[in-house]
Each structure stands twice: as structure tokens, then as C-alpha cells.
Amino acid sequence: MPSLNIYEQPAKLNEDAAKSAHTEAPEWAIIMYFYAALHWINSYAYKRNEIRLLQSLDKTLAPHERRRRYVKKISNYTGDDELYISYKFLFDESMIARYLENSELECINKTSREYYQERDIKEFVDSLEILKRALKK
């Protein structure tokens, strides 16, 4: 992938890996869709010489939090909240897929895999597409 920048490459690789995991490991597909989104955001920042905003030396702010604020800001510039909404959606779901956060899977007595096998994966694909489209505006 010679024409892609260093952030677009992992974005595309994560996306491809997510697609191939839909059936066998949907919980990992969710996580990879989020990481594809994360790298598309990085790529956007890189192209605008704003990548330093995501790599601040300020250690009091966690990298995910720094990126969330950046996404909110660029969503504001473009006047399109869908970018920020899609990012938050993918982030929240990826946290559930990773850590079973919120005890919600515990109380319904399911594994993360079983839980995401019941969900419509198209929602996650669509969210990533919305995010990518918004970044092109």
C-alpha cells in the first residue's frame, strides 16, 4: 500500500481484519472497527499537521481522552455531529467488547462473543462509513 500514509495503512488493515472476523469473532470485529476509526482520525490530523494535538506530552490526559476532544472539535468545525456520534458509539461498544464494561453482559449471563453474535454488525460498518465520509468533508 505505497500511496497510503502511516495512519491510513493500519486503518485499512483493521477494517479488512474486522470484515473477516464478522462471523467467527464478532467481538474482535467491533474492536477492530473502532481502531480503524481511530487511525482514520489520526490520518485526518496528520494531513492537517495537527497530529501533535494527539501526541501531546501532557501526561495528565489519557490518549483516548485527547482524541475524543479532538474528534469533538473537528466535528464542530465541519458542523456534522454524526462524526462525533459515530466515534463515541464505536468507542463505547469496543469497551464493552474488550472489558465487558458496565456489568451489562454479566447480568445477562453471556460472553462477549455470544452478545455480539446477536447484534447487527451492519450498525458498526455503517458507523465507520459515516465517520470516514465526515472526515472527507
Binding site: 475524543r68 476532544r69 469533538k72 456520534i85 458509539f89 463505547d92 451489562e104 447480568c107 447484534r119
Partner: protein
């Protein structure tokens, strides 16, 4: 002014005075902490979404954090869950922007969690609102 002649106070008057004081107190608190008004508005909006049974709002005990968690109690089916979550996030984002504008910051983070039951809160947190 409310007359405070004890002979004129029957139980209803007393109740009215108490309610007025409560309203005055609430109004003063809202002026001091405008985020509460926005939190209440958002909780009411979330409550109106389909399949939402209840909404509970959690914040740090010191009331200083700009991270507020809105727990939506719901038994929504798997297929409708993403739609509910996105609708809720969409409302939360609008409120986040209002709060950022009111406080002239960019760090408000209103988080949505769909839960099937309310768990005990962490010791550093407290419930600041629960819809009746």
C-alpha cells in the same frame, strides 16, 4: 412574601411553604451550578426514547468532574439496541455542546450506558438524579 403567622398555618399551608422553599433552593442551586439544569433536561429527553424504563445519572462525589454517566435502564432487544444507543448519544452530544458553551471549555463528556439493572456505584461516585 409568605405570612408566617402560626395560627394561619394549616397542614396545606405548611406544605406550600415547604415546597416554595424547596423551589427557591433548587432555583438558587441551578444558578450556581447551571450544569444541573442541562443534566435534568437530558435525563428527561432520554426517558422519552423508546424502550427506556428509567434513567439514572452518576457523577463523582465532589461534583467537580466534567464526566457524567447517564445509565439507561432498558431491556431493549439486540436489534434495537444500537439504534437506542445512537439516539441517546446524539442527545448527549447536543447537551455536551451546550455545557461546553456555558462553561467555555471543551472537556464535557456525557457518557451513555444501557444497563439491564442498576449496580452499586463506585465509592468515588454518587447518584445525582434518578427519574421517578
Amino acid at each position: 412574601m409568605v405570612p408566617l403567622d402560626p395560627e394561619k398555618l394549616n397542614s396545606n399551608n405548611h406544605f406550600t411553604i415547604f415546597n416554595r422553599l424547596k423551589l427557591l433552593f433548587r432555583s438558587a442551586i441551578r444558578k450556581l451550578r447551571p450544569e444541573l439544569r442541562e443534566v435534568e433536561k437530558l435525563a428527561a429527553q432520554l426517558q422519552e426514547l423508546p424502550a427506556v424504563e428509567n434513567v439514572r445519572v452518576i457523577r463523582d462525589k465532589k461534583n467537580t468532574s466534567h464526566v457524567i454517566v447517564f445509565q439507561i435502564l432498558s431491556h431493549v432487544d439486540s436489534n434495537s439496541r444500537s439504534h437506542l444507543l445512537k439516539s441517546a448519544i446524539s442527545l448527549a452530544v447536543k447537551t455536551e455542546r451546550n455545557l461546553d458553551r456555558i462553561f467555555n471549555v471543551e472537556d464535557w463528556d456525557l457518557r451513555i450506558r444501557i444497563v439491564e439493572r442498576y449496580e452499586n456505584t463506585h465509592k468515588s461516585q454518587r447518584v445525582i438524579l434518578i427519574n421517578a
